[in-house]
Amino acid sequence: MVPTLAGRWQTRILLYVFIGLPVTFLYAMYLTNWRWPPAIDLSAFTDPFVFITAILILGLILDVAYIQAQRFRWEGDWPFAFQFFFSIMEFFAVYVGMEYFGALDYFLPDGRIPFETAAWHFTFVFVPSFIAVLAIVQIFLVRWRYKGGELGRF
């Protein structure tokens, strides 16, 4: 990968919209026993959306740091392995922030999501997202790989 800053941001938002949100919706439905509307406990349905959005926002901020780190790399690139590693770190950062620093208290009525619930949620979003970046996006967006991950035409 040879992302630009705008490319990182746009790709992240693209994945959030097309993979993150649909997967989270299904996961939230599963958590609330596939009942619509989720009458009894609304927060059990909305919590996953808060969590995945928190990862998105942290990622958007960290992208600025990643792009600075990329300047030290002669190839001006960002190996898939780095992307993989730092994505998982982002998950842990959000989890630790939520669990030990109450960073999401304002948005989460209960103040926390159990680790197992959050970890499965992240896995279901991350795996297809990573595969999409490796292989799928360029099938639809043929210019994307030349534009450092940015969307649209030249």
Partner: protein, 644 residues
Amino acid sequence: MSIEITWRPAENVNDVAPGRITLTGKGPFQIGRSSGSEVLLDNSQVSRKHATIKVEGDVVTLDDEGSQNGTLVRGQRISSLQWRPGVEVAVGPFVLTYRLVESQVPIEATRLPGQDPAARPTFPGRLFDQRQVPFKEIQSSGRMTQEIEYLAIGGGNGSFAWVDHLRIFGVDKKNIRVIGIADNKSPYSKYGRLCRNSQIPDHERIRSNSISTPDNLWGFPGYASRETVRDLARGQLVGLKYVFQVFGEPTVSETYTPRLIDVFQSLDREAKRINWDEMWLAGRVIAIRKTDDERYVIAYRASSESEANNNSPDRDRFIVARYLHIATGYPASNFLDDLQKFRREHPQSTAVVNCYEPHEEVYRTLEQKGGTVLIRGRGIVASRIIQRVYEARQKNPNIQILHLIRNPVTEGSKWDLSQREVYNDTEHQAFNWPKSCWGGTYLRELDAATPEERSKMMASWGGTTTAYRDDWLDIISTGKKEGWFKVFYGNVEGMSERGSRVVTRLQGKANYQESLELVADYIIDCTGLISKIDETPLIADIIKTYDVGRNRVTGKGAEARLAGINVSSSFEIPAMQNGRGHVFASGVVTFAGPHAAVDSFLGLQYAALRSVDHLARLRAPGVSKFGPLRSSYQWLKWCANASP
């Protein structure tokens, strides 16, 4: 492959004219005074049928046909000679040399400066003296004329990428033509020949990436995943290593590179899918002119299958097209000046070779007899040649390698906050440019930069580099330790022959006044291909006729390179625009423009995408906008190997 023969008056002769001709095919071609001679030397000291030339692959043989005054090499009369490029042959008052040319261009009857302008070539003749040719005059010329929408000039990978994009974006095969030199329709024939000569056999890996897939414009599936799937299907779990390489490269794992044979086979498949052969025309483009109806006329000489038909005027034809793409590639192999001089002075010696020429016999002889090889140059080709000599050494340990490079390198190039790594006096990076040049920040910055900034960027990112490969580093460190690999620095003062060996004298450096002599059985020049694009007369003619601008020169001293022609970010040549007619270019003819790696597979695909996208904006017939739906639909067609 063609040979370009040049003749000039010998010293102290001034009543004969110089000349030049390009010959395509195997021959035999005649040198003589009679009018049927291909190399027509009109002088009484030349016999009617003086000598003949035969071309077999890259081997050129010159046979004297019992001429009265003889055929001479260094004053010695010869009856048969394996003629090597640059070697001077005397025929009567003329001195002949030749070189192998790759160019698209016919140099048929082109003149050298100072010749009589009345001796102009008969085709396309005065019609092309105009900057804008009236279409009616083309029609009334009596020549066979074809009209087409899209025409690609050059039969190689650059044209293939463009035509592939056109076809997938929706253009029908009947609206596209490709003109390439005759002997082989396959888009990689020239590339493949250069690879094989520079000792990259089909099973070796080339310096290219998994996602540089000239057969697939999406870059997926890449060569790594294809190799993994193939190995897994055979039950070989080790195949997983290729996708892991891509996952970790270049930091966690060694960069993945595809096998040459896999690239070729994938190109064959794609060529068949897009009906490449049906769009192909065999011939040499002579010149391009704008027409008065917002199109272009191309004068070309069609190739003839039968030798008898070789000089038929029917072969001189026109094509008129609205959209052109020029990708004629590298004009010739480079040859260091002092090596050229040595060859001229020692025409019988076979000790000095260029790595892009066929030189298998060097390794065969080394394997049998042993000996010393001097390698000049330090790029990726030098690495591969060293590997090849090392392989020969496994069969015969009595082989020494001397590596001659101009100066030691201790510090890599710098850019922004980063620096290139150096091992064994050579800067290392995965490909010939940093990866970001193909699609990241560097590509963006270069495209937006001024010419001054561009040359600065390219000077930092480019230069001679080799790839990081453990086996290559091992060969050199083992060789140094065991004493069969030695490195020398310096400029060459002169070369001479000692028996069958070659002596290279190195200039003493400031600190070491005495000069040094290196004695070797073979010298292999690995200094690369030249990109002097105006050595291709077709390009030179366009530059002159339409004031096409040139990109800034990059590099210093011996590495100085004249750069390519000006193209826009969409790879259009602005000076060539003719109303609704547009001309695009890609490959090395656009060097030092908006893209660094113009001669790479992915660079050619980028240029093709940019120009075909531009055609879509211009509403060129058949070219779609290629949004997500069409793109994914076409991708499925690619997977199904269905016509686009």
